[in-house]
Symmetry: D2
């Protein structure tokens, strides 16, 4: 299973090259992540559990321009004991234009220490674990 999220690139996302500034995709990965967690009824930013990013990466295949409509497919690369490896496939007209990975780690907001993923969250994420 994947979760699909559609966005339209804004003028503010571009730079003087006439194309999207590469950091803008991370903004949309964050939006897609939040909607994905909302979709599986686990809007994580409300809980006592925070999810700082420990690793992020992105590969860019083709130019993305203002007003492009992109589909972001969210899936899970690996579920660790206290971490989630989220994958983002970015499609334009059904062709891959970029691919991202964001590893987030469960952290107790009050102690600021690592904390294992709750079972209920793990269960809701498992259908999205992809063979990558």
């Amino acid at each position: 299973m994947v979760f699909r999220w559609t966005i339209r690139i804004l003028f503010i996302d571009t730079d003087a090259s006439g194309r999207i500034h590469y950091t803008s995709l991370f903004r949309y990965f964050e939006a897609a992540e939040i909607e994905f967690f909302r979709h599986i009824d686990s809007a994580h930013q409300y809980s006592e559990l925070g999810f700082p990013r420990v690793h992020v990466e992105c590969d860019y295949r083709s130019a993305i321009r203002c007003d492009d409509v992109l589909v972001i497919e969210v899936s899970v690369g690996r579920l660790g004991n206290a971490s989630i490896d989220l994958r983002f496939l970015v499609l334009k007209d059904e062709v891959e234009v970029a691919r991202g990975k964001v590893v987030i780690a469960g952290m107790d907001r009050s102690t600021q220490r690592a904390r294992p993923l709750p079972d209920v969250l793990r269960e809701r994420l498992e259908p999205y674990v992809a063979a990558i």
Copy 2:
């Protein structure tokens, strides 16, 4: 008196017009404000007093481009009982290219209510009040 702060426009500040995206100047107004408060030994973000923005504005006179070196002159337009009207004059090669105004209001961080400016802060700001 004015406080001068020099910046260089980054590629990320531009948009597909080839010029600076207009919101980027606000980023530099914030940087100039922080350095101004540090300069008068009142780095306000550390105190129990917060300063949410209640009004901001900017006029743009000329195009600003990547790598332009700008001088931002910070002064005070008006000192209210609980608010500060900060002015930002943006110069490129000593010619005005933009002009901004940011009104911030003193707020007690714990109660989230308005709070008069401390006398010591008022004294340090007064030399920068400009005849506008």
Copy 3:
């Protein structure tokens, strides 16, 4: 007439105060403007006419937080010969939380000089001119 555009505030829009960073609203004003022009069938960024911003401002009434759903109402304050004064009313649960103004000026992209608004654009904007 007004054009309504609904957005949800992202985590990336916030700052360490726990509330929206004030510049984020300008990002959404831009998105609302683009959708407004698309709605009246005048997606201006494609034409030979550019619209640099000559003045922007915003008043902030109440705190806006991550995940807030906001309605932005777009109307036109005044139609000049070569400029458009756009107004943005920001509502949360039907209560005003902010109010913005963005004045854009028609510019010929090739000559970079001012250019009067085309009649067809003027006609499409007129129903949105508000008594302000």
Copy 4:
């Protein structure tokens, strides 16, 4: 050899977690890259050669907060025929807090096709190639 660039984290770089938003580091990697190229007298954004990003990544080790002063050490991981693998080590009080990698590819601005690195650029970059 490494090139060192010092920055101070701004309030606008933070998010509601009270710490830096992870995308802000990419902004500073870009600034450090531009200053690095200026330092070796190869300010690449002026030439007929563009450098779109093909891969970026970052590992985050410790929290970074508003007003932190960070040193970014820039070096070169690998010099390809038409690509440069830039490395960014981020230090706070001489301790690593993050580590980034940005792979840029030489592109002819007029044809938008890949183009080998000019010899003069390759010579200036070679002293910064690190054993990684």
